[in-house]
Amino acid sequence: MKNKKKSGLRRLGNDLRKYSDAYMMVIPVVIFYLLFCYKPMYGILIAFKDYSPAAGIWDSDWTSSYGFQHFIDFFQSYYFTRILKNTLVISISSIIFGFPAPILLALLLNELKNEKFKRVTQTISYMPHFISMVVVCSMVQLFTSNKGFITYLLSFLGGPDCSLLTRPNYFVPIYVLSGIWQGIGWDAIIYLAALTGIDQELYEAARIDGAGRWKQTLHVTLPGISGTVIIMLLLRLGNVMNVGFEKIILLYNEGIYETADVISTFVYRKGLQDFQWGYSAAVGIFNSVINFVVVMVFNKISRKVSDVSLW
């Protein structure tokens, strides 16, 4: 027992010596994390306490139910299942449809032969990312109002002739599609960068082997960016519970709460009446735990299947 411990320490000592210059490099990074992330970490306690500014976080009283009252309040809310379901539906649809879109765009841009056209397309397509959410949402409202051109187009396909945002079943598609519209160019940048990392010699080799464009894409391009794709997917999955309130608040109305009200908007509305630090922290922790578990699971799968992982 003692021996083992000793040898472990010795191994660590050797390791530190062997990789001393590597460890030296990471020290500033570790200091940053300790100082700005871990030092304030005790704030998590606030979710289990009746926080009082005068007492401070440490000395505030624990909530009833062994500190879990805020969580219980959240779970017992009349709307808990609905907002949980809506959050997941919106988030997962965004992943299913929104995640592949920029990859596709990057691949298509890659096939453009005219460099100038490629640059222009790329530059313009990333601009909507910089338009503030308020303006983006007011445009979405304009396009989907009863006089909007999307409503007009849809009416030929049997859609309603009223504002689409008054119909619960249109909310998720509008949310997801407008998200793609706003983010596709910006999100494609990372994949464009990954495409440049592919060794050009591989294409030449494939061409010599007689592979056409399609085969080259399949056997060189896709494997070349798969690492980035998987990392981005893992990061995205780790946000599955985070559906921001800003955009939804700008788009929804009481008539479509049924599909549009999510956890963050619910907490936001509640906070407008009476801000409760503990309650919102508890909801945050609930989301984080799920996110963390999801990312752990998928990271493990990914490491097994593809040898790519977050860490």
Partner: protein
Amino acid sequence: MQNKKKITPYRVFSVFNVIFMLLLILVTAYPVYYIVIASFSDPGALSRHVGLLWMPMKPYTLSAYEMVFRNPRIITGLLNTLFVLGTGLLINLTLTMLGAFFLTIKGPMLKNAIALMIIFTMYFSGGMIPGYLNIRDLKLLDTLWALVLPGAVSTANLIIMKSGFQSIPDSLIESARLDGGSYLQILLRVMIPLSKATIAVMVLYYGVGHWNAWFNASIYLRDSDKFPLQLVVRNILKLAGSSAMASGAGMDEMAQMAELIKYALIVVTTTPILVLYPFLQKYFVKGVMVGAIKG
């Protein structure tokens, strides 16, 4: 004279590809176009207009821009943002590359522990209150450093940088190691030159992040002369919005201008950051020749 080429599936695809791109340009350029023309339009005519806008509403006016630039805080805000952007980027890139490179090195025993420690912070944090008390205890309150240091590393960016480094063959690191190079030298001489595209992405992500940031400024600063641009912009929008809707307010030209000011502000504040892109774009266009460096 060019020969007539056969119609191959790939050529058909190329045509459709171009058509698709043109459509994409149309739908993504329209909002930008709308904002620009709206910012020059006559406020009265604009407020009576319903539906899509194709031409600026006459008579054209620059009054929204005048109103924006009359606010002295726009300039101080821009200077503050540039300071944060400059120092921030320097610190961001240094720390992110150091951390990311450490995580690509095979061997160190503590690597996994450090990786887990870093990832954990993506999901759990102490929240606003202890974060604020921390900044206060570090005597950073009401300084621009409070906007730089707490966000010195973004964990997601660090992971993306790491995956960029990982796409470089291990053999390069090992051979440089055998040549007696320290890890720092390898980072500077091998990794960075080979990862220019990913680093350009980092510059873009961090840079745009700093450019758009306002929240930390809103809780850590107490002096309006130190406010960064986006916080100033938020305040102007709040003002325009409140005078547009203020209960009990009288007739107010500001109210009418609210929409115009909103658009003018977007033009003013996004043009500088949009200019950054073409400079970075060259790194995304050409592929690297790993072999060339290897040889």
